[in-house]
């Protein structure tokens, strides 16, 4: 089981309470598709991903970004058992979506950048460390059911 300090718990709750899930989700996913273009392999049906402008403005990307953030919310609300909370999602990503789990880290890094841009200097090194620890647990849990 992951041990969370009081600071980490309150920091994660605080970050996510202030996030607009639509905006952050779409920005993070779009950024991931631009910065790591091979991730586009999972979104063949999303239409125009031809260049950065197209990706950033693509409504299907935006909608899916929101889905991802709401998925993250489950972990925010269940920090003491993220592994169990994500068991089904992990199976889905492995068996149905066939996503290489290395991609989870890429998206997590993009979300970190998006949160950093939004929070500015409030995103201190300690806040960053807490968010990255949380996202690392999420990434690990999502990869747990792969075999």
């Amino acid at each position: 089981m992951v041990e969370w300090t009081e600071f980490e718990r309150s920091t994660i709750a605080d970050i996510f309470s202030k996030l607009n899930y639509d905006v952050a989700g779409s920005n993070a996913l779009a950024r991931c598709l631009v910065v790591y273009p091979w991730t586009q392999r999972y979104f063949g049906k999303f239409g125009n991903l031809y260049n950065a402008a197209a990706i950033m403005g693509n409504p299907m990307v935006a909608a899916h970004g929101t889905v991802v953030l709401h998925g993250l919310d489950k972990a925010v609300k269940n920090m003491d058992d993220i592994k169990a909370t994500y068991a089904e999602l992990s199976v889905l990503h492995s068996e149905k979506l066939h996503v290489d789990p290395d991609n989870f880290k890429l998206l997590a890094d993009c979300l970190t950048i998006v949160v950093a841009s939004q929070m500015g200097s409030a995103f201190t090194p300690q806040v960053q460390a807490a968010l990255q620890k949380f996202l690392a647990v999420v990434v690990s849990s999502l990869g747990r059911q792969y075999h």
Binding site: R31, V34, V35, Q128, Q132
Partner: protein, 143 residues
């Protein structure tokens, strides 16, 4: 994943905005790295303070970013341009190259925090590629 002409132009354009603040960026990137990736502190065992504001962190941030600023002007031949630094890292410092990726990530975070409007996805991908190419050049002499 080599640097295209467009990548180089984007990096140079963005860097003209960054270079005035580059000491701060270096200082902040290092402080972030030590906080989020504590294993990186093992390369600086004699320091006592790894946080923002530490004199050691500020000084080293300036050194590192000075070299990176320099590398922006050497993008056409990073391996040649960074040859001496690669020797130092390979023979004397022996920093595991996985740490270059870690520092690069923290530089990106520092840039996002300080230049939220300018650090667009397009700038992000170009700078990420540049830092990756720089890291490869730095590791060139390792074996």
């Amino acid at each position: 994943m080599s640097l295209t002409a467009k990548d180089k132009a984007v990096v140079k354009g963005f860097w003209s905005k960054v270079s005035g603040k580059s000491d701060d960026i270096g200082h902040e990137a290092l402080a972030r790295m030590f906080a989020a990736y504590p294993q990186t502190k093992t390369y600086f065992p004699k320091w006592s303070d790894y946080s923002l504001g530490s004199a050691d962190v500020k000084k080293h941030g300036k050194t590192v970013m000075g070299a990176i600023n320099d590398a922006v002007g050497k993008m056409d031949d990073l391996i040649g341009g960074l040859s001496a630094l690669s020797d130092v890292h390979a023979t004397r410092l022996r920093v595991d190259p996985s740490n270059f990726k870690i520092l690069s990530h923290n530089i990106l975070v520092a840039l996002a925090v300080n230049f939220p409007g300018d650090f667009t996805a397009e700038v992000h991908v170009a700078v990420d590629k540049f830092l990756a190419a720089l890291s490869a050049a730095l590791a060139d002499k390792y074996r």
